[in-house]
């Protein structure tokens, strides 16, 4: 029998035996970034197309949580940095070849806009709302006029944020599992789907809820399609990618991925949403909650599994 035994004398912490330099903070950040991108895209899309009256939850209500999501996500990103006091260095340069740099700058654009959108949407959600300081009232009235302009920027910037969360991974050819261009669209669609799930949770009108469920159902379908294609691509690729796919096809992530992400996070909520569209009564917390938890676990699993996949030499 042919033998191949490789013994490495290297034992650097967090590098060996398996790379584990990105812990829980990164998937949390990617989940929150994707969710924020999803909510912002749906909201700005409805505002741009003039459908905000028909879909007030997606257009106004859900946007109120986006600043918190982004600040929390940025907090997790900050926690991940090992040389924290130098974080401001991100904003002293623009590096077009670095996805991390793109992410830092796109967040620099989106975070203030999300605060602005949430602020001018507040009166739409709570009509009697009064700002404590007259200056804020003036600013609110000023920016209120530019809601559509803000939405126009966000309708472009939000998908960039969503797709960046995947490109952050896919740009690393050193990690064969991540090195697939499907990851960008997959994380974008997953982010949109979690955004739709938040709208399902927040809405109080049945007709609106059905509309969001229909959107979510389509997005889940696209996600399943992308996941299938991702594995087809891996299996038809080089040995390193075949082996990284095998992490999910018999390897250590098989059960968690197919049960928690695909079944509980995609197939079952899709089934429940179909039942709902067929006039069955389904408590919205169940499909929406499953989609959100599934989206979170997807990112956790891909973060860990990607770091385990490697070149062989």
């Amino acid at each position: 029998m042919r033998e191949e035994i490789i013994i490495s004398g290297r034992m650097n912490p967090n590098i060996d035996p398996y790379l584990h330099i990105w812990h829980w903070q990164i998937p949390m950040y990617l989940f929150l970034g994707g969710l924020a991108a999803g909510i912002l895209f749906l909201s700005s899309y409805y505002i741009v197309t003039g459908k905000e009256g028909k879909y007030p939850t997606a257009s106004y209500v859900s946007t109120l949580i986006v600043p918190f999501l982004l600040v929390l996500g940025l907090g997790f990103l900050f926690l991940d940095l090992k040389h924290k006091l130098y974080f401001w260095r991100l904003y002293t340069t623009i590096r077009l070849e670095s996805p991390m740099s793109w992410g830092a700058w796109i967040l620099m654009l989106i975070t203030p806009l999300s605060f602005l959108l949430a602020a001018i949407n507040l009166k739409k959600v709570r009509p009697g709302w009064k700002w404590k300081y007259p200056l804020l009232e003036i600013l609110d009235q000023f920016f209120e006029k530019y809601r559509k302009a803000i939405a126009w920027i966000l309708v472009i910037a939000a998908p960039i944020l969503g797709i960046y969360t995947g490109i952050l991974f896919s740009a690393f050819n050193a990690r064969p599992l991540w090195n697939t261009s499907i990851l960008g669209p997959l994380f974008l669609v997953s982010g949109l789907s979690t955004g739709a799930a938040v709208n399902i949770l927040f809405t109080k009108q049945h007709a609106e809820k059905l509309a969001y469920s229909r959107i979510d159902l389509i997005l889940i379908g696209i996600e399943l399609f992308l996941i299938t294609h991702m594995f087809m691509g891996f299996k038809a690729s080089t040995q390193v990618q075949i082996e990284s796919a095998n992490l999910f096809l018999g390897g250590p992530f098989t059960a968690s991925f197919w049960v928690l992400v695909v079944m509980l996070g995609l197939v079952i909520p899709a089934f429940l949403e179909i039942l709902e569209l067929r006039k069955f009564k389904i408590p919205s917390l169940v499909p929406a909650g499953l989609v959100l938890i599934g989206g979170l676990i997807l990112r956790f699993i891909l973060t860990d599994a990607g770091q385990m996949s490697r070149w062989l030499y």
Binding site: I5, N12, L19, M100, A174
Partner: protein, 177 residues
């Protein structure tokens, strides 16, 4: 100028003197290493072949770590040596993810650290510490643009390979076979 290193896998005995020399020269924190020895046993019994490789950063010509660095801390220095500017590094870990050789690590002080080809020695005309310490003299260092340098000379006469060239990194660490 293009610095490179050639390592003779037939002369290397795997003693790890290069590792200790590096740790001493560069004050590498305890438990970490910038270079390391890999033993590869390959073949069908009883025809087994052992390859010993002293590995380190490949000082790639197309370095993914430089490309993905969001702050420009990872950069090309004179002679193509890839260096990390400590007070520009935010410790995001992107470069560690991007290296197919896993040659980088997170220094306990927060910034990312790696082999520098002992740039402090090379600047004053000396060889890296690992090269000088090697008891079998199996490492060759120098400027590839200088046909008289030890590395240029040995690469002219010997067969060599690089590690995972298919990763597109254009490595400048040559293994003589």
């Amino acid at each position: 100028m293009r610095y490179a290193m050639a390592i003779d896998t037939l002369k290397c005995v795997g003693c790890s003197d290069c590792v200790v020399a590096c740790q001493t020269e560069n004050n590498v924190p305890i438990g970490y290493c910038r270079d390391w020895v890999v033993e590869v046993m390959d073949g069908t019994y009883p025809q087994l072949e052992l390859e010993l490789r002293s590995e380190r950063c490949n000082q790639c010509g197309n370095a993914p770590c430089v490309r993905c660095c969001p702050t420009g801390a990872s950069h090309f220095s004179d002679g193509g040596i890839v260096l990390v500017t400590q007070d520009k590094c935010i410790g995001c870990g992107a470069c560690i993810q991007s290296c197919p050789y896993d040659a980088r690590y997170s220094h306990p002080e927060g910034y990312v650290d790696k082999c520098t080809f002992c740039v402090q020695r090379v600047k004053v005309g000396e060889s890296p510490a690992c090269v000088d310490a090697c008891p079998t003299k199996c490492m060759y260092f120098g400027d590839l643009d200088d046909p008289g340098s030890p590395v240029s000379k040995v690469l002219k006469t010997r067969k060599f390979k690089t590690l995972i060239p298919e990763a597109g990194t254009k490595p400048y660490l040559y293994f003589l076979i």
